[in-house]
Amino acid sequence: MSDHGTRPVLQGCGIVKTFGQHRALDGVDFDLYAGEVHALLGENGAGKSTLIKILTGAYQPDGGELLLDGEPIQLRDTLHGQGYGIGTVYQEVNLLPNRSAAENLFLGRQPTRFGLIQRREIETRARDLLAGYGLDIDVHAELSEFSVAIQQIVAIARAVELSGKVLVLDEPTASLDRNEVERLYEVIGGLKAKGLGIIFITHFLDQVFDLADRVTVLRNGRKVATEALSDVDTTDVVRMMLGKDVSFEHHPTTLNSRTKGRVRVSFKGVGRTGLAPFDLAVHEGEVVGVAGLLGSGRTEVARLLFGVDAAESGSFTVDGQPVSIRNPAQAVAAGFGFCPEDRKLDGIFGELSVRENIIIALQAKLGWFRALNRDDQIELSGRYAEALDIRAADHDMPVKFLSGGNQQKVILARWLAIDPTFLILDEPTRGIDVGAHAEIVRTINRLREEGLALFVISSELDEVVAYSDRVVVMRERQMVAELASDDITPDAIVQAIAGTHSKENTL
């Protein structure tokens, strides 16, 4: 890090970006030097992708400015950014799966003679180019025939060819195996040696330490810190990522003398390819919190429990009775509810009214012929809207007009309406104003008191601490630790996630 110049190649100063009322980025500073790998970390909704979209020109900032080699620039779009030398490789490879590797490299700038593309020349040049990345493939073959790793390298080659100053890698390793990751390391190392500035986004901490020179951590649209990785360890980074924004009062175990209710649901040896089998039992009036970084397998566990992905092994028991849960309909029939992480994609029906969104799961459970009439619907939605304090001018208005926090409460109301035994909440506070977090946490605590069994995934450490009776820690697609009662402290969770000094807790 000493050999780069005094001036950053790319710099963002006080970047602000708002969507509607949601402030996605709030005065973020970021700088990148030539010849460095700069990791960008943060949970979902922290603002990572918004920041790189601004740095590459996909979005325009509402405040702050971008400097390239010290000169202020304004990027209209990604092609404009590419012209300035800023290239991007996205997580879901944004190339053409249906065309050859060679064509993907040269699309839009194919050498032509008399208007005809010189295919042989393209193929020769593509082969030479990829050889520089240690890749010897049939460049004539369709891109989708290759592994994701090779597609990534082709995408990197194209981006570097077209830009050549700054390369943004957005979770390039998300779906690679270890050998492929090694290969990508070599490629990135080579580009770094050539003097490119590389922004590297990932959720694998070990890769950050393997590869990056510096790290910037974002949380809730703000920069937590930028540190040289030689100065910090994993625990520091996890703490920065999960840190505290809001403080909550107390750990629930101190409220009651722990008289655990009976076991409502239990799972034995439940697993699936890519997720180690696990055992779990949740009691009446108990909240099991799940801590773990993005990609640790926490969402996969929730999907398995709800039958979104069918389990390949293991058994499910509800109130002592064995049940089969192969799809969400069976889960609902068994009295399960699930608030998914991606509300917009998997949760709300944007065009349907607030009322219909609340009653839909109950209606699906009742079947077509036992339709809830309008009065029932109004009564149900009114009851749960009041219980959860859903703020909507009118329950007949489409739910898409509500704020994120209210939409989350609508989905919660949807599940409360079926009178569930077991509720799974995946990141219930994601994308919600910080102010509304406390409200969701209060609601979770209240549901526990009403005797529900809850399974709550969160990347907000203090929230997990605030409502959990037990905390399951996940790392690398398995449950690695379980903390109970007084052991539940932010520090203990951070240790377990980082996997450093917590061997004695390991399951």
Binding site: A329, G347, F349, L352
Partner: protein, 354 residues
């Protein structure tokens, strides 16, 4: 941009009484459009609204519009549900031909109509089921899946009729096509009854809501515990059933089954009727009566063009104009234009029409 209404507490506010239904209905743009078209027809042809009673039934241009709109209206009833699930059924015209051919062939070979009609309807349902299976189990896009039957269906119909126009004199079939009930043409009465039954079926049960949910967000529907497969099979089968009824009417009208021309291009008219009725091609909110109104608008324009002496094909030009206007109005360009105006005060009504 919409303004989240964050500060209003529902608990302190009683549910607002719904707007008076009659007023809400009359101010629908489709109703206004139909009235406008009818008034233009009246201006062109002063006798347009005259209805006479003769031989135990009503006669007049208005009755004619009802009668002729019936096949497309019936197709539109089935098509609405399909489009609400984010699908489309291109095969209904061909299914009409098949159903007509089946019924005509059966009655001419001596099978009583009381058997032939149910068989024809069952064949229509089977055709719809075939489409539904391609869409749900093979996961083929609806426009492509239904194209197969659109291409092959007429061939099948000709196979049944052996290439001829099978004429018949069966009184039941002729009654379906040309008879009258309480003075009104049978096709119009069938369309009305079917519209009422279908509307009751989707609105008095939860079917309508679940169809809309699947059309709006299939993934969220799955997460909410809804099984969309059975729903899709029902919806496509119902479209086939409606097509079969329309096929019987058209056959009864000409007292014969014409495999080549029965229902030709009517699938496109049906889609147009649904779109005029305010159901988005992207699925979601739907209204069966509005789609029937759409069919009436199309037919009223047809009749207007005929009585004003233009060639009937001129109607195609008008139809294309209607599509273009609707597309422009529904587009994001128009949305941006209308947004400049004071924020729409009442978003609750925007679900019903676009």
């Amino acid at each position: 941009m919409t303004r989240p209404t964050a500060n209003i507490r529902p608990a302190s506010q009683p549910p607002r009484p719904p707007a008076r239904p009659v007023y809400a209905f009359v101010t629908q743009p489709q109703v206004i459009a139909l009235v406008a078209v009818l008034l233009v027809n009246w201006a062109l042809f002063p006798g347009f609204f005259t209805i006479t009673w003769q031989d135990g039934r009503f006669f007049g241009s208005l009755i004619d519009v009802l009668n002729r709109a019936a096949p497309v209206a019936i197709l539109a009833i089935g098509m609405t549900a399909v489009i609400a699930t984010k699908g489309v059924d291109l095969s209904v015209g061909a299914v009409m031909a098949i159903a007509g051919a089946v019924a005509a062939t059966l009655v001419t070979s001596g099978v009583p109509a009381i058997v032939a009609v149910p068989v024809a309807l069952a064949v229509g349902i089977a055709c719809g089921l075939w489409n539904g299976i391609l869409v749900t189990f093979l996961d083929i896009q609806p426009i492509i899946a239904t194209l197969v039957l659109m291409v092959a269906g007429r061939g099948l119909a000709q196979l049944i009729t052996e290439g001829t126009i099978v004429t018949f004199s069966d009184p039941v079939l002729i009654f379906i096509g040309t008879g009258s009930i309480l003075g009104f043409p049978t096709p119009a009465v069938i369309a009305l009854v079917l519209m009422i039954l279908a509307t009751l079926a989707v609105r008095k049960t939860a079917l309508g809501l679940l169809i809309e949910a699947v059309g709006i967000n299939r993934s969220a529907a799955r997460f909410a515990g809804l099984s969309s497969r059975v729903l899709l099979l029902i919806v496509y089968s119902f479209a086939g059933f409606c097509a079969a009824i329309a096929g019987l009417i058209v056959a009864g009208d000409i007292r014969g089954a014409d495999a080549n021309n029965a229902g030709l291009w009517l699938e496109l008219d049906a889609i147009l009727a649904v779109v005029i009725g305010g159901t988005s091609l992207m699925g979601g909110r739907f209204s069966i009566p509005m789609a029937v109104l759409g069919a009436l608008i199309i037919q009223a324009m047809n009749t207007g063009i005929l009585i004003s002496g233009f060639s009937p094909e001129f109607n195609l030009v008008v139809k294309s104009g209607v599509i273009i206007v609707i597309l422009v109005l529904q587009s994001h360009l128009a949305a941006r234009f209308f947004q400049r105006r004071p924020a729409a005060a009442n978003p609750s009504s925007s679900g019903q029409q676009k």
